[in-house]
């Protein structure tokens, strides 16, 4: 072998040792350059955060520690001391929502009241509610548009806002491989933002397109942060998790209306306790013409659309 291979003898070659040293140095430099962006990772999860249990397995002491830790993180990031709570589901309450499709004018105030209330990312923009502009006489959501602008309502159009339907048989809950989303006793499908692995199976499973993914670090101006926060609802979400409408849990479990109900200028949005026969929602279900979106997929939503005539 060595006879065939004729080493270069004219002095233009370098020794193997020198070559290996140079190549190794260059390779280390390249690796260091490639890894350099990792120095910008500021907030690695703490050990407690990393070893945290699933929300449903937390003891009250665990929960208090988590609330304290998240409050501290929020205060550090936004300079606002949040009032972070975790209101429990109420006994004898099952939340229901009704939307008067004949009254909605499509002004999108609900969308922005929701963004404001629930600390949704402004950039990239995350909104729980999509208002579909539908052709009158059609119920084909495929031909609807969400991009309309200017004065509303437009001629020959009606408006159908769509948000999480809080299904009784929620496909997203079935799809989640880690049980990071589940249904609470009051009927609200919630997400444990620390348990979500960001696989987005739930987004694929949801027939209503109601779930949103934090593709980037959410950006919320500090002066627009809503300090009234719930652990399972509107506390700032980390990057890489799914979020969606939760009927404003931090408000509704304290007896208040959701933000979208309170802002609707036409009074199209109705909310209440399905188990209370005297509530406005029970009255609507008994007396109005009610339909649910995509009834045929069998999700049994708690979100009803109704009209007067």
């Amino acid at each position: 072998m060595s006879e065939e291979w004729k080493p270069v003898e004219d002095g233009t070659g370098i020794s193997r040792r020198a070559f290996l040293a140079a190549a190794a140095t260059a390779a280390v430099a390249a690796t260091a350059a490639a890894l350099a962006p990792m120095k910008d990772i500021a907030d690695l999860p703490s050990l407690e955060e990393f070893l945290r249990k699933h929300y449903t397995e937390l003891t009250p002491a665990d929960k208090a520690a988590i609330i304290a830790r998240i409050s501290e993180q929020v205060e550090k990031k936004y300079g606002v001391k949040p009032n972070l709570t975790d209101p429990p589901p109420l006994d004898g309450v099952e939340f229901g929502y009704a939307l008067n499709i004949g009254r909605c004018v499509g002004c999108r105030k609900c969308v922005f009241a929701c963004v404001d209330e629930n600390n949704q990312s402004r950039n990239p923009e995350i909104q729980y509610i999509r208002v579909l502009e539908m052709k009158k006489g059609s119920i084909d959501v495929e031909s609807s548009t969400t991009e309309y602008e200017g004065e509303v309502p437009k001629k020959d159009s009606y408006y159908m806002p769509v948000q999480c339907q809080q299904c009784r048989k929620a496909p997203c809950v079935k799809a989640c491989p880690v049980k990071a989303t589940w249904q609470e006793p009051d009927g609200v499908v919630v997400i444990d933002y620390n348990w979500c692995i960001g696989c987005r199976y739930c987004i694929a499973a949801c027939p209503y397109g109601a779930r949103r993914f934090n593709w980037q670090e959410p950006h919320i101006p500090a002066d627009e942060l809503n300090p009234e926060m719930g652990l399972l609802s509107n506390r700032p979400r980390p990057k890489g998790v799914v979020e969606k409408c939760h009927f404003c849990l931090h408000r509704t479990r304290n007896g208040k209306y959701p933000a979208c109900v309170e802002v609707c200028p036409t009074g199209s949005r109705k909310f209440g306790n399905l188990l209370d026969p005297n509530s406005e929602i029970s009255n609507i279900l008994q007396n109005k013409r009610v339909y649910v979106l995509k009834e045929e997929v069998g999700t049994l939503p708690r979100f009803y659309y109704y009209f007067d005539i």
Binding site: S2, P7, E9, T12, G13, S15, R16, A18, F19, A22, A23, A26, A29, A30, A33, A34, A36, N100, V105, G106, C107, R108, V111, F112, A113, V115, D116, R122, N123, P124, E125, Q127, T146, E147, E149, V152, P153, Q216, P221, E224, T252, G255, K256, Y257, A259, V261, E262, V263, P265, T266, G267, K270, F271, N273, S279, E280, N283, I284, N287, Y306
Partner: protein
């Protein structure tokens, strides 16, 4: 022979491999691929979008151009004196209330600050929903049950219950059909393609290229 003298690496080969690594290092360090394209600038939330105020303001008292009714109407009928001398007129009130085009269908003839019921008795401004209920009975029923009109406050009766808004908080009684509203901005479904798209569509969002 080869066993005695350690083999030399040809300079071009050594240079190519070391240079390759160095190029990689420069490539990573200067981030030649660049960062992700910047997001379209999304304007700050305008507070008007989340404003829970009703479309109209509800007055506590009946006035016209700031003056109480009694400054012109003495509570007798017909109106005493020449209306032109009194300065303000009701002619500029536009009435588009279907067939209901007569002032005294709603307003009381003798008590100008009140409204008129079927039997001629007065309905106070605070109970204005009873006036509307004279004709809009089914809507009044729905309003009572919570199916019509906006409610705020608490859904939970134990916590204080809902606060209904009266008819005239949303409907102009003289022109009751709901006026068109200006829609809040459309969703920026994909902030990265939005910039390109709106450059074609025109500068309706103004401010960025």
């Amino acid at each position: 022979m080869g066993a005695e003298t350690p083999p030399k690496i040809p300079l071009w080969a050594a240079g190519a491999s070391v240079g390759g690594f160095m190029l990689l290092a420069v490539f990573f360090a200067t981030n030649l691929l660049g960062n992700a394209p910047p997001n379209d600038e999304i304007p700050k939330l305008s507070p008007e979008y989340a404003d829970t105020a009703t479309v109209r303001k509800v007055r506590k008292e009946m006035t016209f151009d700031g003056a109480p009714c009694s400054s012109c109407h003495e509570g007798t009928e017909p109106l005493q004196g020449d209306p032109k001398e009194k300065g303000v007129f009701h002619e500029k009130i536009e009435i588009k209330h279907g067939r209901n085009q007569h002032c005294f269908n709603c307003h009381h003839r003798k008590q100008p600050a009140d409204f008129s019921n079927f039997d001629g008795s007065a309905i106070k401004l605070a109970d204005v929903q009873l006036l509307c209920a004279k004709c809009h009975g089914t809507t009044f029923r729905d309003w009572n049950n919570g199916a019509h009109g906006r409610r705020s406050g608490h859904w939970d009766v134990a916590k204080g219950g809902p606060k209904p808004t009266v008819c005239i908080a949303c409907h102009n009684p003289h022109w009751p059909i709901f006026k068109p509203l200006k829609a809040a901005p459309a969703p920026h479904v994909n902030p990265r393609t939005r910039a390109r798209k709106s450059a074609h569509a025109g500068a309706e969002h103004g401010g960025h290229e």
